[in-house]
Amino acid sequence: MTDHQDALARLQAAGFDLTAFSEEQREVLSALTPHELGVLVEIKGRLDESAPEVQAHVDIAGGALF
């Protein structure tokens, strides 16, 4: 397996759905470095830890950073 295939495979193994990404975007993701991959896999785990039903009964959404 090449490094590029490995990056995409790691993302998919972590549960990321890459089907909505274009070929050009997948090319970007295939070149992710180990540090980038590591943080992304951690982030994905946080969604799995949190309650997935949260968004179902929220009447306010949107960013909140400055």
Binding site: V28, D59, A61, L65
Partner: protein, 227 residues
């Protein structure tokens, strides 16, 4: 270069993190206990925002030390000097919001700051000091890229019952930050970054998205109340 520009490539990477951060933000605004959680959010945002200008000032000083031998340091330093003035005093806005909400601004000013907030800002100090100040652009990109939507302040005010004066920071940033993001994306596309520096920006951005997600999930776990 072939393929998407740097700002577009960074956006692709952040798009992977977006559903998680969106879920955490949704949890932050859950109806139960929203007034109490909004006050806790103001305390947390003050802890974070009070570091913004000092971080940029330190990064700008590092740029001055690195230039002129570093082709990134000059334009980066000039961008930071401009952005410092755009962000200056916003921690004071949050203290005023806290007072309007009936909370104690002194508790924010004197507070330790949550470890997750220290981890967000602290990582930036590390990369500025020990790698390159360009990493700070990833942090700024995430903060500017999740500015409050227009109308968020009014919806929160209506649903929490807190006075409108407690939402100045949220309200005003809905107007301010859209232009900031465009300027930052243009800078990312123009800077002569090495591949290593481009990775530093991306890792910094993803680390920031992760830290903000953790912060919002912690705030969301605050027990509910009547509003």
């Amino acid at each position: 270069m072939s393929g998407p520009g740097r700002s577009a490539a960074l956006r692709v990477k952040l798009d992977l993190a977006a559903p998680v951060l969106d879920a955490a933000t949704a949890a932050l605004w859950e109806p139960s206990g929203r007034a109490r959680r909004y006050v806790a959010y103001l305390y947390a945002m003050h802890a974070l925002v009070r570091a913004s200008v000092p971080l940029m000032e330190r990064a700008a000083r590092r740029c001055a030390e690195l230039a002129p031998g570093d082709p990134v340091a000059g334009p980066l330093g000039r961008y930071l000097e401009r952005h410092i003035e755009e962000e200056r005093g916003h921690d004071e806005w949050l203290l005023a919001d806290l007072a309007a909400a009936g909370a104690d601004p002194a508790a924010a000013r004197d507070g330790l700051g949550a470890p997750v907030v220290a981890g967000l800002a602290g990582a930036q100090y590390y990369w500025i000091e020990h790698h390159h100040p360009v990493a700070l652009l990833g942090y700024i990109r995430v903060l500017e890229g999740h500015a409050p939507a227009p109308g968020l302040a009014d919806r929160l005010a209506a649903r929490t019952g807190l006075p409108a004066a407690a939402f100045r920071t949220v309200r005003d940033h809905a107007d301010l930050d859209s232009g900031h993001l465009a300027a930052l994306d243009a800078l990312l596309d123009d800077l002569p970054l090495t591949p290593g520096q481009e990775t530093a920006v991306a890792v910094s951005a993803l680390h920031t998205a992760d830290g903000v997600t953790r912060l919002f999930l912690q705030l969301a776990a605050i027990p509910g109340g009547s509003a």
